[in-house]
Symmetry: C2
Subunit: 297 residues, 2 copies
DNA sequence: ACAATAGTGTCTATCAGACAGTATATA
DNA sequence: TATATACTGTCTGATAGACACTATTGT
C-alpha cells in the first residue's frame, strides 16, 4: 500500500521528512516498591517468630529531599521499557532478578519533582526472604528495609447536592532499626450520578521524598486487593514454608487475624505438600509446603 | 534546615545551578478507551432491543498508520497530568465531561511508535447512552463507534523445567456499520517458583494503529474484572433504567448469560428504585431504577 | 386470549466463619 | 509432663445457581 497523506506523502517520504518536534517532553522514572517479609526474633525457644512486611528505601544523598528516604528508582532510558528500567533498579539495589514484578500506576502530578517535569511509572516487586539475605551489606548506597504498617485512621462520608464525597485517611508507618517515618495519605472519592473520581493526596509527611508515600500506599492497596484472589503472596515465601508461616504473611499484609481452619481450606489449592517437616521447634513439627505450579481448579 | 549535599550546596543553591540535562526524553501520550452501550433495533414492537458494547475509534488522517483506526489520544503537555490530558481528549472527541475515568496501564514497548520514543499512558472512560447522542455529527474528525467483542480463542499450558507457561489467545472484533476489524492478542504467563511474569503481544492485527489492540484488550479485561465487584457498570447506564437493561449490560460486558433472580439479588444494593415505569412496551411495564448514591453495605 | 417480559419464591450445593477437639515434638 | 504449636472435624449461616411460578401490560 502506498497511501498518501494530506501533504501527498507516502509513509516512506513521511519518515524521511519527519523530525522530532522540539516541544517539551517529560522525564519518566521507574520507581519500585520492593516488598519482602522478615522474621522478628523469637521470644523463647518455643514461640514462633512473628512476620513483618518490609519495604526497601534509599536515603537520598543529593538535593532535593537530601537526607529523606526514597524508593529505589531511576530514569527510563531510550531503547528500554519502563519494566526493564524497573528490573534494572531492582537488580542494582538488591542483586535479585527472578521476582514478581507488576506495574502499579503512573504518577504525573505537576510539580511532583521540584527540579523538572518528571513522571513516575511505579512498580511493585515481591521478593522472598531466601533471596533477600544475599545483598545485605550494600555498596556505598544507604539502603534500609523499613517495617511497614498501613492502617485506616478516619473515614468520612459527606452528602453533596447529587452525590457524595467519601474520604479515607490512612496512616503509613515505616520503621527501621534507627528511624521511624509516619505519613498520612488521604483518598477522596467523589461520586455523582454519571461519574466517580478518586484522588490521592498526602496529608502529612515526614522523611519520605517526593510523592513516594502515595506510591507506597498504592502498592499496599494493590497487594491487599490481590492477596485474596491470587497466589501473589506466595512470591514472598521461601521455597519451603509451613502453612502457619503463610498465614502469618497473609495476616501481616491484610493487617487482620485469620482463622486457621478456614485459611487452610482457602489456600489448599495454591500449595503442594512435601515430605519435609520443621525440626527442633519445641513442639509438634510442621509439614513444609511449596508453591503449587501444577494444575489447579 | 539547610542541609548541604556532596558538593556543599544548600537546596536553594542546588536549584540555582540545576539545569535540565539534555539526555533523551520520551513523549508521553494519553490514550483513552471510551466505552458506551447502545441498543440494536428491536425486532418487533414487543421484543426488547439488545445491548452492544461500543468503543470510539478515530481514523488516522496522517502517517504512520494512515487510514487505520486509533484510540482518541494526544500528547501530555507540561503543566497538566496524564489524567487531565485524557479528560481533554475525551471532551474534544465526545463533548462529554462528567464521566467515569480510570487509568489502566502505561505502555512503553520500544518501537511501539515508529516515529520516535513515545509511551502511552492509557485510560478507560465509561459514558452513558444519554450523553453519547450529543456529539454524533462531529467536526472534520472521522470518529466512529465500533461494536466490540472479546473472546477467548485458545488456551494452552506447557510445563517447563520448574514451572509452566500459560498462553491465552483472545480475539478482539470491532465492527462499525461500514467496517470490521479483527485482531488476536496473546497473553503469556510464565510462572516459576520465585516469579510470575505476564506479557501481552499482538498475534495478528488488521486496521488498528500502533499497539492499540493491546490497550483495548487491557481495558476490556479491567472492565470485566471490576464489573462483579464494583458499581462500575452503572456508569454506562442512563439516569433511569430497568433491571433487565442493567442485566443486559452486565451480559454484554462479560459475554455471558446471567440468571435473572441471582442477578437481581446481587445488584439490589447498587440501585435505588424510583416510582417510574416503562410504558407502551407491549408487555408488563418495568420499574425504573437509578444508581444508588446513599449508604449501602 | 396471547405474546412477551417483569418480578418473586424456594430448594440446593457450596463455602466461609466459628470453635472445639485431637495430635505430637522438645526441654 | 507441660508447653506450644499442628492439624482436623463439624455446626451454622450466608450466598450463588437453578428453576419454577405468578403478575401485568398492549394488541
Amino acid at each position: 500500500m502506498n497511501l498518501l497523506d494530506r501533504d501527498g506523502l507516502t509513509e516512506r517520504e513521511f519518515f524521511e521528512q519527519y523530525h522530532v518536534g522540539d516541544y517539551e517532553r517529560p522525564s519518566v522514572a521507574a520507581d519500585v516498591v520492593i516488598f519482602t517479609v522478615t522474621n522478628t526474633e523469637a521470644d523463647s525457644y518455643r514461640k514462633l517468630p512473628e512476620k513483618e512486611l518490609r519495604i526497601l528505601l534509599i536515603r537520598r544523598g543529593g538535593h532535593p529531599f537530601l537526607g529523606s528516604w526514597a524508593l529505589p528508582g531511576g530514569f527510563v532510558r531510550p531503547n528500554e521499557t519502563t519494566e526493564q528500567a524497573a528490573v534494572r533498579e531492582l537488580r542494582e539495589e538488591t542483586g535479585v532478578d527472578d521476582v514478581y514484578l507488576e506495574q502499579l500506576y503512573t504518577f504525573s502530578d505537576v510539580g511532583r519533582d521540584p527540579r523538572t517535569w518528571v513522571m513516575s511509572c511505579s512498580y511493585m516487586a515481591l521478593i522472598n526472604s531466601d533471596q533477600v539475605q544475599l545483598k545485605a551489606g550494600d555498596d556505598a548506597v544507604d539502603a534500609t528495609w523499613f517495617k511497614t504498617t498501613y492502617r485506616l485512621l478516619r473515614e468520612r462520608k459527606e452528602f453533596i447536592e447529587d452525590g457524595f464525597v467519601k474520604t479515607m485517611e490512612y496512616e503509613l508507618k515505616l520503621s527501621s532499626e534507627e528511624e521511624g517515618l509516619t505519613t498520612v495519605v488521604e483518598w477522596t472519592m467523589t461520586s455523582k450520578p454519571a461519574s466517580t473520581s478518586t484522588t490521592y493526596s498526602i496529608v502529612s509527611n515526614h522523611g519520605l521524598a517526593f510523592d513516594h508515600a502515595k506510591i507506597i500506599a498504592c502498592a499496599i492497596e494493590r497487594l491487599r486487593g490481590k492477596v485474596n484472589f491470587t497466589d501473589i503472596a506466595l512470591h514472598l515465601m521461601p521455597h519451603l514454608f509451613t502453612l502457619t508461616e503463610l498465614q502469618q504473611v497473609y495476616e501481616v499484609i491484610l493487617d487482620k487475624e485469620l482463622l486457621k481452619a478456614a485459611f487452610r481450606r482457602k489456600v489448599a489449592y495454591l500449595v503442594a505438600e512435601t515430605d519435609h517437616y520443621t525440626e527442633n521447634a519445641g513442639h509438634r513439627p510442621s509439614r513444609l509446603f511449596r508453591r503449587n505450579l501444577e494444575e489447579y481448579r
